[in-house]
Symmetry: C2
Subunit: 312 residues, 2 copies
């Protein structure tokens, strides 16, 4: 008996999601506003109020390496990357559930440090852990689900950009990936080092911080709310600028022009790019893990967002 | 530098949850009705209506073995065990998010079969998959979050049982574990077998079905709703009757008397118990994975639940 075996690598994560979604078919529920295909699902909570739901997993050996990742930062990051997906719907996070797969090599003390980071993030972003599940596993596996809320008239999707809109990003890009590259390089140096080796990372404090303890841009959407601004299309930058621009374009049915010299890039990314003999813009376009926001705005609205946002 | 290393096995899953919960502290949110400590978290959706949120993971090598688990059944079970936690709050499931960690050894075709099972379960229980995440992993890891709904006046918690209440269970117990034991035995026989070996499992069809494709008892709580009945305390039986009675007692502040000869046990469990030289009641008390309901009821209400429920 011959069986079909197509490797998931052959079609990639997005290809897999497309095939699985085909099996499930189009969902029909009066309260469901948006299912699979955006940063979070959206359903109606009450008159004028939407709920959003998102989940994102961090797996040891895939998303993080325990030899270069402090547990408290990992706890913070596990919440922050999910808050970032809530923020990418222009919504505020409310409740989180955390599912942990824990290998034998991980102690109670390590998990307590992890939870200190979770608590830090809950305080920072104003959400509450309401449940979860813990189980044994071969790799440390962290799966977080967050429920958030947004007024119906403030929700933002990936779709919605119009020809002529300006494409903007918050903060600076490429730092998350530059931080990862520096940490991996130092880990290798550390493994090959003599006893008196001390890594000197202060020249890269910004990019390392951005890799180990990224922040979700809840501050940006809170400013927008105060100013009465809603972007036409919105996504968070978790997979690199190129991928996210593509998502906005595909779902909005338009093209985009990104000017390489307009991409905001930190000096430390430029230094890291020299070190790794690469272009800084590659870090921003393809690196990922920046958790900044990419959004489309009417040209007439651009003057309303006076907060260091860069037009790309 | 000496570091503390306490193994999680030393204090167990519930001990770990207690320690992590201590770090997070008591949650404060006007809309949060119940956080960690029941089958699902409960928060207010609107006037008179609560939402529940639960997540449960199934990990290869911990919760299932791919050599004896058809993918379509696994997909169904992944949803059903989470629906069971929703049902254990007397709530109806609405939306699900699925996070998958997929190893290289798992093909697209296998995941498509898995999703056929997910679809079956969504049809059976009336819920919709609205999102998720997929990533690489060393073990097939399935983490599901389900959001459900229940009227405020129908919600049931683990706490709430009163002295004098009757303790009841639905269906029969011990079957899930008996099914697992039979499947493991047959797998070993198969590994040692000659080419013409065919496992004969028809004497154990009930318990194998209960292990591979358990059903959540949405039918029971739907009957209760039609009859206007609400149990005083409610939990689903995922870890065995003994553990669940203990949860109800601890959270309700009472003791309980379980009469061994009143526990409903299927004939096939009795046959399996003989085969494995064990007591059938041990399968029911300590086996787990039955996904039946355990609940406390006022003696005067018992006549209202005429549906094969056993008083234990």
């Amino acid at each position: 008996m011959e069986r079909e075996f197509t490797s998931i690598e052959d079609i990639g994560e997005f290809g897999l999601i497309d095939r699985l979604q085909t099996i499930l078919g189009e969902p029909a529920d009066a309260e469901l506003i948006r299912g699979i295909g955006d940063d979070a699902a959206v359903f109606r909570k009450s008159d004028g109020l939407f709920q959003v739901m998102t989940c994102d997993a961090l797996i040891e050996g895939v998303h993080f390496d325990l030899t270069i990742t402090p547990m408290r930062h990992l706890g913070f990051k596990s919440i922050a990357v999910n808050v970032s997906d809530v923020v990418a719907m222009n919504a505020l996070p409310r409740f989180a559930a955390i599912t942990l797969g824990i290998p034998h090599s991980v102690s109670i003390e390590m998990m307590e440090k992890f939870y200190l980071g979770v608590r830090d993030a809950c305080h920072t972003y104003g959400l509450i852990v309401v449940g979860g599940d813990t189980t044994a596993a071969r790799q440390l596996s962290i799966s977080v689900t967050i429920i958030g809320e947004v007024m119906e008239n403030r929700v933002a999707f990936r779709r919605g950009a119009q020809p002529g809109d300006l494409i903007c990003v918050t903060g600076d890009l490429g730092s998350g990936y530059a931080g990862l590259k520096i940490l991996i390089k130092e880990r290798i140096a550390l493994q090959e080092a003599t006893a008196d080796f001390r890594p000197d990372l202060k020249d890269f404090d910004h990019v390392i911080q951005r890799q180990l303890r990224p922040e979700a841009r809840l501050d940006v959407i809170s400013n927008w709310e105060r100013g009465g601004f809603v972007p036409r299309a919105l996504i968070d930058i978790s997979d690199g600028l190129a991928s996210e621009v593509h998502h906005i374009c595909r779902q909005s049915g338009c093209g985009a022009l990104v000017r390489q010299d307009s991409i905001p890039i930190h000096e430390q990314v430029k230094t890291a790019a020299v070190l790794f003999e690469d272009e800084p813009s590659n870090f921003a376009l393809f690196g990922g893990e920046d958790y900044e926001l990419l959004f489309a705005v009417r040209p007439s609205d651009f003057s309303r967002i006076d907060d260091g946002t860069a037009m790309v």
